[in-house]
Symmetry: none
Subunit: 205 residues, 4 copies
DNA sequence: GATGAATGAGTATTCATTCAT
DNA sequence: TATGAATGAATACTCATTCAT
């Protein structure tokens, strides 16, 4: 593949990631992608086959690039194992702030057509392994609640996701007596205490 | 309004709720709504003004009808105050199972255009008041973790929502070593224990 | 016919005259006529048969009501026979100012569908007879150019019509070095002199 | 631009000129233009943006192409300066016969929406300069009535326009005792004599 | 590899007219 | 007589995709 072709593909994919994450599959037109990428529309078909395939390519790319589990987060957790829960929550939360395309593309795919997700089967999204090791060590050290790793991770993902993706929904429906984005820190610390102290008690018994 | 008109409007709104929740605003065509409702397309404009307004009407209707906080759930919680967390989680989870349109319509509005949510400002989604009373009593009785009501409710909503709305996402991304729908019960019980024991421990100290 | 029916018809016809003269046959919707007349749409069909027939009715009505040849104009011409041309020109010009619907409805009919004009066959638009008498007297008295009555009247009508109906066109095309509305008076006086002096000369020979 | 594109645009514009001049902006459908031009409807939007813009393009084109002031008319006037008025009238009259789209498009724009005329601001419709020179020479030579050039030209334009655009109207309303198209020659000669003789007389005084 | 040109099915919305109460 | 409900054919405009140079 020539260099020019590479550049064209890069431009297309970048624009697609942005537009698809903003407006979804149906809400994004091929014409607009081409225009904003500064590329001839036909190239999209030459390189990606169809609009839907381009969406899948964009989604896959976002998945490969974005790593919810960052090295710095793991470092922090290792340095301060007493507050694993808070650190993970804050880490996921930051990740969503930095990679808004991640959850939006996922959400679009989830709603519009589950088949769009199939390509992600083989993509490993960062490694949960290291988190699991930290989790196991905390459990062994009596610093964590009596919960399976899967359910623990799930709960943290749920909270951080919901915080980002439903801020508006909650504001409009739950009458803002629930958490808003600024008070996320409080939420994280409270949950940290709950998951942590619990374990202590579990041991004391 | 004549009886026939009422019927027509009902047919339109019902079909709109179903199709919009499945395919979103963009993904649903007015033609299809009319066809599946067995109604002349023009009636949609006569009664609802535009496709977007019909979406808002559908969303509002779903909100008025669906009550995440059901009476039976409250009864159960009153009868078994020891397991408030589990009961609420199961209640929300069931609610989403029975009202799939609820979270999907919300999710679509959230992604497609936040303005679509504005109409919900004035709609009260069931009463949180009763839950708050149960929560306060449990706290006072030392049966609940040291967490604010807002953050408590938020966490439960996040977990139950995430379970429904991202089942597929998780299956494809987290490598199915996280929770699937069948193991929701385990998750609920584990969280219940964590939120509950914690309080007990808090008191024991 | 009942009194209420009469009122309804009057409201419809009045609104139709106004809207059709503004936007023409195609540019006016039955819905709008009904709405602005404060009348049920169906009444239009009950009383006038169709949109087109309503247009014809409006046109006919305007024709019956509006009289390009007014009594006061004739009086003035009788009192000041020396300036017949100017008086007639000013009279027609004023008529168009006071009855804008007249020339616009005619122009629409003329452009949109000549058949719309057929109904006017039998409607007498004021009397040309009196003007002819004034014309003949002026000719006989040597105060008017050597021109047939038909051509004389035609020229005056052309000038007054063109002044009203093409003001905009002229402004945009002829570079405003032609006449604008304010200088109409000059035009009239000049033409008056030409048509008059000419006759004098004709006699002098 | 490719040759094929040029052809397509030409076909569209030609058909648009014809249909718009016949039925106006509202009365012409984009579908029909496409069909009669033998062109894909979308091309109209690709090349002209919208139906309204196509109308403006058609109007502008007609203006650029059509020259009410022809060379042959000027030649004739130079060769026979005694009958300037008649020659101009006949020239304008012929022009309208040969270019029926000219006055109809103007009339439609005038009635339907004055904004449609704005594009004509910068288009020069042939040159009045040469006519003005002929007029001045005739005046100086004592062969023309005492009238300003603007009002002179306006009157001739009014008469020739009215003759074409309101033939039907007049037939139906003025009871056919006015001029019909065939007797236009008489009208022209009469007016010629009036405008001409007058000057002679002016001098004789 | 790149680009402009073309296509046909679709997409929200409107309109004149008729029906039923 | 009046009114709301209903209808089907338009109507301007868009979109994903393919073709030709």
């Amino acid at each position: 593949m020539q260099k020019r072709a590479m550049e064209t593909q890069t431009k297309i994919l970048g624009t697609a990631m942005r537009l698809f994450s903003e407006h979804g599959l149906k809400g994004t037109t091929v014409d607009r992608i081409a225009a904003e990428a500064g590329v001839n529309k036909q190239r999209i078909y030459a390189y990606f086959g169809s609009k839907e395939k381009l969406f899948v390519a964009a989604l896959t790319r976002v998945f490969q690039e974005a790593a919810p589990v960052s090295q710095s987060m793991l470092d922090e957790a290792r340095a301060d194992p007493e507050h694993l829960t808070e650190i993970l929550l804050r880490g996921f939360h930051n990740f969503h702030a930095v990679n808004p395309q991640f959850w939006r593309l996922l959400a679009w795919a989830n709603l519009e057509d589950a088949r769009l997700l199939e390509s992600l089967r083989d993509v490993r999204t960062g490694e949960n392994g290291e988190i699991r090791r930290l989790f196991d060590r905390a459990r062994a050290g009596g610093r964590l609640a009596d919960i399976s790793f899967g359910n623990y991770l799930f709960t943290l993902l749920a909270v951080s996701w919901f915080l980002r993706s439903n801020a508006l929904t909650l504001r409009y429906t739950m009458g803002r007596n629930t958490v808003d984005e600024n008070s996320a820190g409080t939420l994280f610390r409270e949950l940290d205490r709950i998951f942590a102290r619990n374990a202590a008690e579990g041991f004391s018994r």
